[in-house]
C-alpha cells in the first residue's frame, strides 16, 4: 500500500481547487489530487465572464450585485454569504488580473465588462455591465492563470488519481483514499484537512453542457458517509444549449445583444420579462423557452428556438430598446466586433452545426448546466453536518460541489466563476490556519480496505448489466421527469425508474479486468455516483411542494415562503432510505418579494 502524509489535501483541480491550493500551500504542506490533468478541468469550459461591481463601464455597486444575486436566487440564498461574496468580488478580480489574467480591455486600458442575465442597475432596473471577461473563454483563462501560478509556487499535484473515499476518525477528517488511474494502485493520503472541490453532476441528465467527467464524485462520497447534501432539487438548466448536443452557448451572446426568437419570428422574452427581456435570469428564460415550445411555437414544431446574434438583428433591437454605448451614443455592433467578443461560440456553431451565426440563427434548447445545491458549508467553506450548522472539523467544500448557499434556487450567470475563486481562496486560508492549530488525527483502523472491496466487487460481479445502458436510461428518465418543469407524477415515474436502475446496477459487468488505465472500472463506479445523486435529487424535488427558482412544478406553481423558505438537507441512511431535515435561510437586508424582471 502507498501511504502519503500532507497537512492539506485538495480534491479537484478546477478553479476552486487551484485557488485553494495557492493559499493553502503558503501555510501548510499541501497536495492536490485530481482525476484529470488540472488544465482539463471543467472550469475551462466557462465562457461569458466573472461578475464583479468594478464599475469600469458605468455606475455599479457590490450591494447592487448582492441584491441581484438574492433576487436571482428566488430569495433562497443566504444573504450574509452573498454580501460577503459580492463585496470581495472587485478585489478578487483585481487579484486575478495581478496574476496575469488577460481580461479584455476598455479603450482606456481597464478590465472590460458586459451585460449578463439578472445583473441590473438597481435604480433603473436595466441591465448593467458587470461581467468581466476574456472574450468568451473567461473560464479557460482563469483555469490557465491559476494553474500557472501553482506551477510558479511549486504546488504538489497528483494528476489522474481518482479519490474514492473520505477517511473519518474520532469525528474528524483523517484523509482520503485514491486510485492511481495509470497503475490501478490504491493510495492512502493521511491529512489534517480535506477540501472537496470536485465540481458538479450535470451528467445525471441527457442534455447537458457538462463534461463527461462531471459525475458528482465528491458529493456522492459525502452522501454515502451519512453526511447531508443541501438543496439538490435546484439544478440549473441553461437556456441556450446547442439543440440535441447540449453544448453551452454563453449568455454573453445575449449580453452582446443576441435575442431569442420563436417560430413566428417573435422576440418572445418581451412577454415574459418586459424590462430586461432576454437578459432575465436563467430559470425564467428556460421556462419561457419551454412554454413557447409547449405552445407549438418551437421552430418548425420541433423542441428548440432560435438564438439570433446576426448583427442586423442585434442592431434592430438595440434601436428598438434605445440601448446606448459607453460613449452615450446609440449602440451598434458589427460582425467583426462580435467575432472578437464571441470567437469560440462562432467556432462551435461552425464545427457542430455547420452554420455561421453571423449569417444564420443558432438552434438552442435548455441544457442541464449547474448544481446550485451540494455539500452544505458555512460561508467559510467548513462542511455542515446538521441543521444547527454543526461542522465536521477538517472537512471543507468549495466551488460547484458546495452549497454555501450563495446561489439559492437559481444562480446568476458569472457568479459561478466568482464563487470558485472567492470560496477557493477562503478555503485555502482556513486550511492553512487549521493545519497550524491542530494536531493529526490517527488514520482509522480500516483505510483502503473498503475501497478495494468495492473495486473487487465491481470487477468480479457475476452480473450481465451494462453500466452505460443503465446510465443512458437514468439520463433519459431525469430529463423527462426532473427537468425544467416538474409534476408529482413525472418525478415519481423518474424515481421509480432510478430505483429499478439501482437494482440493476447491482448486477453490472465491467468489461476491463486489468489494472492499467482501467477507465471502464472507474466509469462504472461513476455511474454509481450519478445514480445516488439522481435518486437524492428526485427525492428532494418530490418533497418540495412549491415552485422556486429552478424548481418549477405545474402542480404547485407558486412560491410558498410560509412553508418553504428553508434549505433542504437530505441524508442517506445506512439502509438506503432518505431522511430530510431543514435549515433556515439567512436573511439580512432583503425580505422576500415577488420576482419581476
Amino acid at each position: 500500500m502507498n501511504y502519503h502524509k500532507y497537512e492539506t489535501v485538495i480534491v479537484g483541480a478546477g478553479g476552486a481547487g487551484l485557488m485553494a491550493a495557492l493559499y493553502a500551500s503558503r501555510g501548510s504542506d499541501t497536495a492536490v489530487i485530481s482525476k484529470l490533468y488540472p488544465v482539463r478541468s471543467h472550469t475551462g469550459a466557462a465562457q461569458g465572464g466573472i461578475g464583479a461591481a468594478l464599475g469600469n463601464m458605468e455606475e455599479d455597486h457590490p450591494e447592487w450585485h448582492a441584491y441581484d444575486t438574492v433576487k436571482g436566487s428566488d430569495y433562497l440564498a443566504d444573504q450574509d454569504a452573498v454580501e460577503m461574496m459580492t463585496s470581495m468580488a472587485p478585489g478578487i478580480v483585481i487579484e486575478l488580473e495581478h496574476m496575469g489574467l488577460p481580461f479584455d480591455r476598455t479603450p482606456d486600458g481597464k478590465i472590460a465588462q458586459r451585460r449578463f442575465g439578472g445583473h441590473t442597475n438597481n435604480i433603473t432596473g436595466k441591465p448593467v455591465m458587470r461581467a468581466c471577461h476574456a472574450a468568451d473563454r473567461t473560464g479557460h483563462m482563469i483555469l490557465q492563470t491559476l494553474y500557472q501560478q501553482c506551477i510558479k509556487q511549486g504546488v504538489t499535484f497528483f494528476d489522474e488519481y481518482q479519490v474514492m473515499d473520505l477517511l473519518i476518525n474520532e469525528g474528524r477528517v483523517a484523509g482520503v483514499v485514491a486510485y492511481e488511474i495509470a497503475t490501478g494502485e490504491l493510495h492512502v493520503f493521511h491529512a489534517k484537512n480535506v477540501l472537496f472541490a470536485t465540481g458538479g453532476w450535470g451528467r445525471v441528465w441527457k442534455i447537458t453542457s457538462n463534461a463527461i467527467s462531471y459525475t458528482g464524485d465528491g458529493a456522492a462520497i459525502v452522501l454515502r458517509k451519512g453526511l447531508p447534501l443541501e438543496d439538490l432539487e435546484f439544478f440549473q438548466f441553461h437556456p441556450t444549449g446547442i439543440y440535441k448536443m447540449g453544448i453551452l452557448i454563453t449568455e454573453g451572446v445575449r449580453g452582446e445583444g443576441g435575442v431569442l426568437i420563436n417560430n413566428e419570428g417573435e422576440r418572445f422574452m418581451e412577454k415574459y420579462a418586459p424590462t430586461v427581456k432576454d437578459l432575465a435570469s436563467r430559470d425564467v428564460v428556460s421556462r419561457a423557452i419551454y412554454l413557447e415550445i409547449k405552445a407549438g411555437r418551437g421552430i418548425n414544431g420541433q423542441p428548440y428556438v432560435y438564438l439570433d446574434v446576426r448583427p442586423e438583428t442585434v442592431n434592430k433591437y438595440f434601436e428598438k430598446d434605445g440601448v446606448l454605448g459607453p460613449d452615450g451614443k446609440p449602440k451598434r455592433v458589427t460582425a467583426e466586433y462580435l467575432l472578437k467578443k464571441l470567437p469560440d461560440i462562432i467556432d462551435f456553431c461552425k464545427t457542430y452545426l455547420g452554420i455561421d451565426p453571423m449569417k444564420e440563427p443558432i438552434p438552442v434548447q435548455p441544457t442541464a448546466h449547474y448544481a446550485m445545491g451540494g455539500i452544505p458549508t458555512t460561508k467559510f467553506t467548513e462542511v455542515i453536518v446538521a441543521p444547527d450548522n454543526t461542522i465536521m472539523p477538517g472537512l471543507y467544500a468549495a466551488g460547484e460541489t458546495a452549497c454555501v448557499s450563495v446561489h439559492g434556487a437559481n444562480r446568476l450567470g458569472t457568479n459561478s466563476l466568482l464563487d470558485l475563486v472567492v470560496f477557493g481562496k477562503i478555503a485555502g486560508q482556513r486550511m492553512a490556519e487549521f493545519a497550524r492549530e491542530n494536531d493529526w488525527v490517527p488514520l482509522p483502523k480500516e483505510t483502503w480496505e473498503p475501497v478495494q472491496a468495492e473495486l473487487d466487487r465491481l470487477l468480479n460481479n457475476p452480473g450481465n448489466e451494462n453500466p452505460y445502458q443503465i446510465r443512458a436510461e437514468m439520463q433519459e428518465a431525469m430529463n423527462d421527469g426532473v427537468g425544467v418543469f416538474r409534476t408529482e407524477e413525472l418525478m415519481q415515474q423518474a424515481l421509480d425508474k432510478i430505483r429499478e436502475l439501482k437494482e440493476r446496477y447491482k448486477h453490472i459487468r465491467v468489461m476491463d479486468k486489468g489494472k492499467r488505465f482501467n477507465q471502464d472500472l472507474l466509469e462504472a463506479w461513476e455511474v454509481g455516483n450519478l445514480l445516488d445523486i439522481a435518486e437524492a435529487t428526485t427525492v428532494s424535488a418530490l418533497n418540495r411542494k412549491e415552485s422556486r427558482g429552478a424548481h418549477s412544478r405545474d402542480d404547485y406553481p407558486k412560491r410558498d415562503d410560509e412553508n418553504w423558505l428553508k434549505h433542504t438537507l437530505i441524508y442517506r441512511e445506512a439502509d438506503g432510505t432518505f431522511r430530510i431535515e431543514y435549515k433556515p435561510v439567512v436573511i439580512t437586508k432583503w425580505q422576500p418579494k415577488e420576482r419581476v424582471y
Binding site: L36, Y37, V39, R40, S41, H42, G44, A45, I94, E97, H98, M99, G100, P102, F103, D104, R105, T106, P107, D108, G109, K110, I111, A134, A135, R137, H140, M141, Q144, T145, Q148, Q149, I151, K152, A182, A211, I212, S213, M245, I247, D344, D347, F348, T351, Y352, N466, Y468, Q469, V510, M511, D512, G514, K515, R516, F517, Q519, D520
Partner: protein
C-alpha cells in the same frame, strides 16, 4: 433526423501488460453524420470493448484531452464529425510520446517542456490598488496565443520534434509567446534566453504541420516568427 450510416473504425491498440507490440483492431459502428469521432469511440468503449482507453472530458474542444491521430492527421476526437471522417476511419495515439494504453500517451514530457519556459506571469513591482492598465492594442498582441489548451496536437505533429525529442516544440513556444508579448510581464528577456537555446525556437524547420494541427486555429507560424524576431532584435517591438 439525418440518416445514420455504418463506419469502420480502425484503432491502433496497445496494452503493454498483455501485448508484445501495438496492433490494429477494427470495430463497426452505426453513427449519425453529426456524431463526433469521440462518439464513435464511446460506442465501442461502452458497448463493444470496455478495455479501450481514451482520455476525454469536455467533449467540445476546450479541455484538450482527446488529441489523437485521425485519418493520419492530429485532431481532437470531439471536433471531428463522422460525416467528415468517413466510413473508414483510422485512429492512432499521438506520435512521439510513450503509449500508456491505446490512445492514452504519457503527457509528462510534454508538460515538462511547458514548465521549462516559465509559463507564468512575472511582474515584481508592487501591484497597484486597481488593475494594471493595458491598452486594447497591447492586449491584442498576445490574444491568439492565450487560446492554447495544451492538447499537444501541434508538438506531436512536428517532424523536428520527432527527430529530436529534446526540442521544446511549438506548444511551449506558443505558451512562451503569450507571456513574452504581454506588456505587463517583466521576464520576457529570460524566456527569450531559454528559447534561444540549441533545443529552443531555432529547431523549427518551418514545416508548420503545427498550424494545421491546432484545433484552436492559433497562428503558430506567426507566433514562432515573432519569438525568433524578438531574439534576433533583442526587442519585443513595443
Amino acid at each position: 433526423m439525418a440518416e445514420t450510416f455504418r463506419a469502420t473504425i480502425r484503432i491502433l491498440r496497445y496494452n503493454p501488460d498483455v501485448d508484445k507490440k501495438p496492433h490494429w483492431a477494427e470495430y463497426t459502428v452505426e453513427v449519425e453524420p453529426t456524431d463526433r469521432v469521440i462518439d464513435a469511440l464511446h460506442q465501442i468503449k461502452w458497448f463493444q470493448d470496455g478495455t479501450l482507453a481514451v482520455r476525454r472530458s469536455c467533449l467540445h474542444g476546450v479541455c484538450g484531452s482527446d488529441a489523437m491521430i485521425i485519418n493520419g492527421r492530429n485532431a481532437l476526437a470531439c471536433k471531428v464529425l463522422m460525416k467528415n471522417a468517413g466510413t473508414m476511419v483510422t485512429v492512432e495515439p499521438l506520435r512521439g510520446f510513450r503509449v500508456i494504453k491505446d490512445l492514452v500517451v504519457d503527457m509528462e514530457p510534454f508538460f515538462e517542456k511547458y514548465r521549462s519556459i516559465m509559463p507564468y506571469f512575472i511582474n515584481n513591482d508592487p501591484p497597484p490598488p486597481r488593475e494594471r492598465y493595458q491598452s486594447p492594442e497591447d492586449r491584442a498582441r498576445f490574444d491568439d496565443t492565450t487560446k492554447c489548451i495544451l492538447c499537444a496536437a501541434c508538438t506531436t505533429s512536428c517532424p523536428s520534434f520527432w527527430a529530436n525529442p529534446k526540442y521544446v516544440g511549438p506548444s511551449a513556444i506558443v505558451q512562451a509567446h503569450r507571456f513574452i508579448f504581454d506588456s505587463r510581464d517583466q521576464a520576457w528577456e529570460e524566456r527569450l534566453r531559454i528559447l534561444a537555446d540549441r533545443d529552443g525556437v531555432w529547431r523549427c524547420r518551418s514545416v508548420f504541420n503545427c498550424v494545421e494541427a491546432c484545433p484552436r486555429e492559433i497562428n503558430i507560424k506567426k507566433a514562432i516568427a515573432e519569438v525568433q524576431q524578438a531574439i534576433l532584435t533583442g526587442s519585443r517591438g513595443f
